[in-house]
């Protein structure tokens, strides 16, 4: 069993719950789950808390997912934390853009728990 602290960023509270549920269905033990409605809220959370994985939407008000990734290296607690994008924007150029901004993985909505697990598996290695 892998146990992690996750930060889920999405402007939809339903989608945040679905992502958390999918992580649990994928067999991942979540020791702590933080939620943010946009990138700015997420940066504020990361100033105070440490996480092992960030799952982030792209299209959000206030601060979108791409801007969030660009600002992440400025947060001492989080500069090495892997970010996986979860978004409806599934085109090749969106994937390339997200990865070039620093995302480590990309999940298209709709998704299955198996797809979530497949994308985050590389970041669980070494976790208890």
């Amino acid at each position: 069993m892998n146990s992690i602290r996750a930060l889920i960023i999405d402007d939809s509270s339903v989608m945040r719950k679905i992502v958390e549920r999918s992580l649990r269905q994928a067999g991942i033990e979540l020791t702590q789950v933080f939620e943010a409605g946009n990138g700015a809220e997420a940066l504020a959370i990361l100033q105070e808390s440490q996480v092992d994985l960030i799952l982030c939407d792209i299209n959000m008000p206030v601060m979108d997912g791409l801007e969030f990734i660009k600002q992440l290296p400025g947060v001492a607690n989080a500069k090495e934390v892997p970010v996986v994008m979860i978004t409806t924007e599934g085109s090749e150029s969106h994937v390339v853009q997200a990865l070039s901004c620093g995302a480590r993985g990309y999940i298209r909505k709709p998704f299955t728990p198996e797809q979530v697990r497949e994308q985050i598996k590389p970041f669980l290695e070494g976790k208890p």
Binding site: S13, V14, K17, I18, R21, N59, T88, E89, F111
Partner: protein
């Protein structure tokens, strides 16, 4: 630029786009709700009281609309979150907006050239039946009605009059 009527001038083109709308919707329900949808042979009758809309802009301009009734919406959110129907009601409108958003995104990614060339708005959800939707002259409308747990949901694509070539 070519007009929507030219773009959808043949039955095969219209059927291809309707099939893509249906497939996009089926995939969302199967992957996110664990439900299989069936095709309804009966057209939507206007009895829906929840309407979710996502705007499309860029190479394809218009709006994708998902309509359903409150009972089916409540059941959808309970299936999405794995809850009893009564527990899920605060999230119903958010959930229907997200379903519409995923259907719109999944649909545009199935149309060649639209994945990169078409942007989505945030979802808007309307409750109630007493409204009229007015489209600009020359716009085209495609619709498919599917059954979710024997209850109809209508997926409509309203395309604005002009549509850029790739």
């Amino acid at each position: 630029m070519r007009s929507v009527s030219e773009l959808l001038s043949t039955d095969s083109n219209r059927e291809e786009w309707i099939s893509s709308m249906e497939l996009a919707t089926r995939e969302v329900f199967e992957m996110m709700l664990g439900c299989k949808l069936t095709r309804s042979e009966i057209a939507a009758d206007g009895s829906f009281d929840i309407t979710a809309m996502v705007g499309l802009a860029g190479q394809m301009c218009g709006v994708l609309i998902v309509r359903c009734n409150a009972r089916s919406a409540t059941l959808m959110v309970s299936k999405m979150l794995g809850l009893e129907p009564g527990e899920a009601s605060p999230d119903v409108l958010d959930a229907i907006g997200e379903i519409c958003n995923m259907v719109a995104g999944n649909f545009k990614n199935k149309i060649a050239g639209m994945g990169d060339g078409c942007l989505l708005s945030v979802p808007t959800v309307i409750t109630g039946k007493d409204y009229s939707l007015h489209s600009l002259p020359g716009s085209a409308s495609l619709e498919v009605t599917l059954l979710f747990e024997s209850m109809p949901i209508a997926i409509t694509l309203q395309l604005a009059a002009k549509h850029s070539e790739n």
